[in-house]
C-alpha cells in the first residue's frame, strides 16, 4: 500500500479536527492556520469525568516534524498536569510511558495521541492522582527547536 505523504495525512487530520468529528473530549487544530508545513498544532483534552481531571481542559502543544507520521509528534502539555508520562519540568509527553502508543505506528494520528493520553488519565492508576491547581502552566518550550535537536 502506498504511503500517504505527510502533507496529505496532516491535511486530512486538520479537516477532521476542524469539523469536530469525535465527541469533543479531544480537539486539535493548527496553531497557525497559515502554516503550510503544518508543524505546530494545538490540542485540548477534556479531563475525563469522575477523575481528578474532571471539568478541566488541558491544553497541549503538538509539533509534527518532517518525519511525521513515521515518527511520533512531539507533544507537550501546556496546562500543568500530574501524569506519569508527563515530564514535570517542562510538560513533555514521554511516549514510552504510555503503553498504548509507546511503539509508534504510522497510522497513529494526533487524535490517537490525544485520545490515548486521555485514556491514560482515566486509567485506574492515574485517575485519582492529585492535580496541580487549575490554570497553572508548564514553562513554554520551543518545540521546533527541540525537534531539530532530536534529529
Amino acid at each position: 500500500m502506498a504511503k500517504i505523504p505527510r502533507s496529505f495525512r496532516l491535511l486530512s487530520e486538520l479537516e477532521h479536527g476542524e469539523k469536530g468529528i469525535g465527541d469533543g473530549s479531544c480537539s486539535y487544530g493548527l496553531k497557525d492556520p497559515d502554516d503550510i508545513a503544518m508543524y505546530g498544532w494545538n490540542g485540548t483534552i477534556l479531563g475525563p469525568p469522575h477523575s481528578a481531571y474532571e471539568n478541566r481542559i488541558f491544553s497541549l502543544s503538538i509539533y509534527c516534524g518532517d518525519t511525521y507520521p513515521d515518527t511520533p509528534p512531539i507533544v507537550k502539555f501546556e496546562s500543568k498536569i500530574n501524569l506519569p508520562c508527563v515530564d514535570q519540568t517542562n510538560g513533555l509527553v514521554n511516549f514510552s510511558r504510555v503503553a498504548s502508543i509507546s511503539s509508534w505506528k504510522r497510522d497513529f494520528t494526533l487524535e490517537t495521541v490525544l485520545v490515548e493520553l486521555r485514556r491514560d488519565m482515566a486509567s485506574p492508576a492515574n485517575r485519582k492522582q492529585p492535580q496541580p491547581p487549575e490554570f497553572s502552566e508548564f514553562p513554554p518550550l520551543d518545540l521546533a527547536k527541540l525537534a531539530k535537536q532530536r534529529k
Binding site: T44, H50, E54, I57, S59, I62, V115
Partner: protein, 435 residues
C-alpha cells in the same frame, strides 16, 4: 471559504455540547466569543459563564473576536460545561433518585434510570451479563411502545398495552407452558397434582386470562415497589389464591427465567421458551437445586420452603412477573410475611428508588423474552454509583477503537444493551438512538 471567513459575512457553525447537544448557529465572526456564548446560552440551558468553547485545540477566550480563531463556515466548536456547585454536589455522591436528572439533565451525571445497572452487590450479575432489553432478541419488539424497555415509561405503557397483556395471559394460560414450568422444577414436579390443580383453578386461570387483572396486579406491584413493600401485607389484600397455590408455579417461571436473564444476559438469543422455564437455569445462579439463596433461586426457595404457605397477592404478583428475587419474595411473603424480597438481601425498600424497581422489573425483558421479566420482584439492589464511563470503560474503548466516537451515544447504547458491545454497535447503527 475565503468569503465566508471575511469578517463581515455571517458564518454558520455547529456547537456540540454535553448530552448530545448540537446547535447550529449563524454568527458574524467579528463578534466576540462572549457574544457567541450568549447566543449559545439562549439556545441551550447552559449559562454563559459556564460555557467553555473549544475549537481546533484551543480554548476560546471571551474577549477575542471569533475571527481571531479563524473559525470557518461549517466548522464545529465544542462546548464544555465548567464546574459549578451542581457538579460538585453530583461528584459528592449521588444518592438521590436518578429520575431527578432525567434526560434533560445537562450534567455529567447521566440519568441512570432504566439502565439495569443497579447491580452492585448482586452476587449473580456482573456488568457483562445484566439482563437487558436487546431489541433484536425481544419477542415484544414489534409492539408499539415497547421499543425502549429501558425506559421506565415503557413499563407503564407495557402494562397498558393490550397486546402485551394478552400475550402474557395467553402464555400463562397455556397448559403446556404450565406443565413445562412444573416439570422443569423437580420440586414443583413432586408437588405435581396439587400445583397443577392450583394452576388450573378457575380463579387463577381467570386472572391469567384477564389482561385487566394482570394489569392491576402489575400496577399494584409497581405501587408497592415504590417504597411500600407491604410489610406483612399479605393480609391486607387477602389471599385470593388460597394456600395451595403457594405462588410457586409462577415463581418457577420467574426463577428460571430471571436467572437466565441474570446469568446469561445478552446471550439469550434464540428461542426464549426453552430457557424460560428451565429450572436448570435457576441452578446456574449458584442457588443450587433448592434454589434458595441467590437471586434467581427464588423459585426454588418458594417451592421448597413454603410449598403451601399463604401467599399474599404481592408475592404472587412478584412471582408471576418472574422476579429472580421474586421467588425469594414469594417465600418471604409466605414465611416471614415481609412480602418483600428486600429483607432477604438486606435492602430496605425505602432506600431503593422506584426506578431501580422498574429497571429490575423489565430490565431483562428482552434478554429472554419472558426471562427478562425476572427482574420484576427482585429487590432493588443498591445503585451502582460508578459512572457509566467507568463501568463501560472497556466497551467504550472498543467502540472508540471502531471509530464510534460519540461517547454519549455509546454509553446509551451500552446501557441499553447491558454492556454488550456487539449489540451496542447494532443499536448505534440502527439509528434508533438518533431519534
Amino acid at each position: 471559504m475565503a468569503e465566508a471567513s471575511s469578517s463581515s459575512d455571517v458564518i454558520k457553525i455547529t456547537v456540540k455540547g454535553p448530552s448530545e447537544l448540537k446547535l447550529s448557529i449563524e454568527i458574524d465572526p467579528s463578534k466576540t466569543v462572549a457574544e457567541l456564548k450568549e447566543v449559545i446560552a439562549e439556545k441551550s440551558d447552559v449559562e454563559k459563564d459556564r460555557q467553555r468553547l473549544i475549537y481546533s485545540g484551543k480554548v476560546l477566550k471571551d474577549e477575542e473576536q471569533i475571527s481571531t480563531y479563524k473559525i470557518q463556515n461549517g466548522h464545529t466548536l465544542h462546548m464544555v460545561k465548567g464546574a459549578n456547585k451542581t457538579q460538585a454536589a453530583a461528584a459528592g455522591g449521588v444518592t438521590a433518585s436518578p429520575a431527578a436528572g432525567g434526560s434533560t439533565s445537562q450534567s455529567q451525571q447521566l440519568p441512570r434510570m432504566g439502565t439495569g445497572l443497579n447491580v452492585a452487590g448482586n452476587p449473580v450479575d456482573n456488568i457483562e451479563n445484566i439482563p437487558h432489553g436487546l431489541g433484536g432478541f425481544n419477542p415484544f419488539a414489534n409492539m408499539a411502545g415497547l421499543n425502549n424497555l429501558n425506559d421506565p415509561n415503557a413499563m407503564t405503557s407495557m402494562m397498558q398495552n393490550p397486546d402485551f397483556l394478552r400475550e402474557m395471559s395467553n402464555m400463562m394460560s397455556r397448559p403446556e407452558v404450565l406443565d413445562q414450568m412444573i416439570n422443569s422444577n423437580p420440586q414443583l414436579a413432586q408437588m405435581g397434582p396439587q400445583i397443577r390443580a392450583a394452576m388450573q383453578s378457575p380463579m387463577v386461570q381467570q386472572i391469567l386470562r384477564d389482561p385487566e387483572a394482570l394489569r392491576s396486579m402489575m400496577a399494584m406491584q409497581a405501587q408497592m415497589g415504590g417504597g411500600n413493600p407491604m410489610g406483612g401485607g399479605g393480609g391486607a389484600f387477602g389471599n385470593p389464591f388460597g394456600g395451595g397455590l403457594g405462588g410457586n408455579p409462577f415463581a418457577a417461571l420467574g426463577g428460571g427465567a430471571g436467572a437466565r436473564a441474570g446469568t446469561e444476559g445478552s446471550n439469550t438469543a434464540e428461542d426464549p421458551f426453552p430457557n424460560l422455564f428451565a429450572a436448570g437455569q435457576a441452578a446456574q445462579t449458584g442457588a443450587g437445586g433448592t434454589g434458595a439463596g441467590a437471586r434467581g433461586g427464588g423459585a426454588g426457595a418458594g417451592a421448597g420452603g413454603n410449598p403451601f404457605g399463604a401467599v399474599n397477592y404481592e408475592a404472587l404478583t412478584r412471582a408471576m412477573m418472574g422476579g429472580a428475587g421474586a421467588g425469594v419474595g414469594a417465600g418471604a411473603g409466605a414465611g416471614a410475611g415481609t412480602g418483600a424480597a428486600a429483607g432477604t438481601e438486606g435492602n430496605a425498600m425505602g432506600q431503593a428508588n422506584p426506578f431501580a424497581m422498574y429497571q429490575n422489573m423489565f430490565g431483562g425483558m428482552g434478554a429472554g423474552g419472558w426471562g427478562g421479566m425476572g427482574g420484576f420482584g427482585s429487590p432493588p439492589p443498591p445503585a451502582d454509583t460508578r459512572p457509566p464511563e467507568e463501568i463501560y470503560a472497556t466497551q467504550l474503548g472498543q467502540l472508540n477503537g471502531m471509530g464510534l466516537w460519540d461517547a454519549q451515544k455509546n454509553i446509551r447504547a451500552l446501557r441499553a444493551t447491558g454492556g454488550n458491545v456487539e449489540a451496542a454497535i447494532e443499536l448505534i447503527f440502527s439509528g434508533s438512538l438518533d431519534q
